[in-house]
Symmetry: C2
Subunit: 158 residues, 2 copies
DNA sequence: GCATTATAGTTGTATGTGCAAGCAACATAT
DNA sequence: ATATGTTGCTTGCACATACAACTATAATGC
């Protein structure tokens, strides 16, 4: 709550942070947070034409050349089909290449992909700085941890 | 961490809840949580052919007949264009109807829409119970509050 | 050794969401 | 009163993601 001067009617209570039935609902709040924070992420990573998930995937590939989609699926908490789509796009952009080996698929970074790494790291920094400032330095670490744990707990049960 | 018996090699440490560079990133974790919890939501609300956002929007309309898209946009933390799309679908399903009044649009529930309310409330309950059980009763309230505050903070700054 | 089942990936299709551009109604200024 | 801006909503397009169905390879049982 915040007091605001209104020139006609004097001091008014403005319900800035209004509590709704939704705010008490994690399903709602988690999605709201994800959308808000993704906006920042996409702004930063968008500078070189990637979404945050493409960037994260590329990081893993650079870090572990020859990684398989199934592993990426586990690490990134995304379904195999989504991984296929992400890799497809990175392949189009020549940041990654695929190699078939039996029923497996191995993913390697290209030189271009590796060269992008510093830019990604920087964007990551900047995104982090932005949302940390908005949310408040104190809360961030604990919040992140709790959010991640919750995500894991749900992932295992359902 | 969890110890697991492996018949060939004896006791092994299995890194079940592995910490990655991603788990420490709110951008990543928030999206992971949102996806996981939305899965539950869509399972429950899907019983009557709605996604959770359609259901929530319908709740607001039933509660405040004649509500305008702009208000819904604020309450639900969704862009106006998304509201249009959601309302379109609810209109197709005859759960809601639109009335133009000047440049405004007023949204009213139909009888069918109102009749769906109890089912929605029940689905809401069930979804809540499911994720509360998975995440742990103790954490839920605080987590939800923090998550919502963070979402708001980001919404205001960016 | 063949038949069955399991595993790894890909593709078709659908959905929720947002951005940018557009349009129509209203407000303001000169 | 006409011109200029502002507000409220909608539409075209794009994107990330998932599910279900499918293919191809590997593993297992008999």
């Amino acid at each position: 709550m915040k007091e605001v001067m209104d020139s006609n009617e004097g001091v008014q209570i403005v319900d800035e942070k209004k509590e709704t039935r939704f705010s008490a609902c994690l399903l709602f709040s988690a999605n709201a947070l994800a959308r808000a924070i993704t906006t920042i992420g996409d702004e930063e990573f968008g500078r070189f034409g990637l979404s945050y998930s493409h960037a994260y995937l590329l990081c893993e590939v650079v870090d572990q050349p020859g990684i398989m989609p199934s592993q990426l699926s586990q690490t990134l908490y995304l379904t195999p089909s989504t991984i296929t789509r992400l890799v497809e796009k990175l392949e189009q952009k020549q940041l990654v290449r695929r190699e078939s080996e039996g029923k497996k698929t191995l993913i390697f970074p290209t030189a271009q992909g590796e060269a992008l790494q510093p830019a990604i790291a920087e964007a990551w920094q900047r995104a982090g700085a932005r949302y940390t400032q908005a949310i408040g330095e104190d809360n961030i670490k604990g919040l992140t941890q709790h959010v991640f744990k919750a995500a894991q707990a749900l992932g295992e049960e359902c």
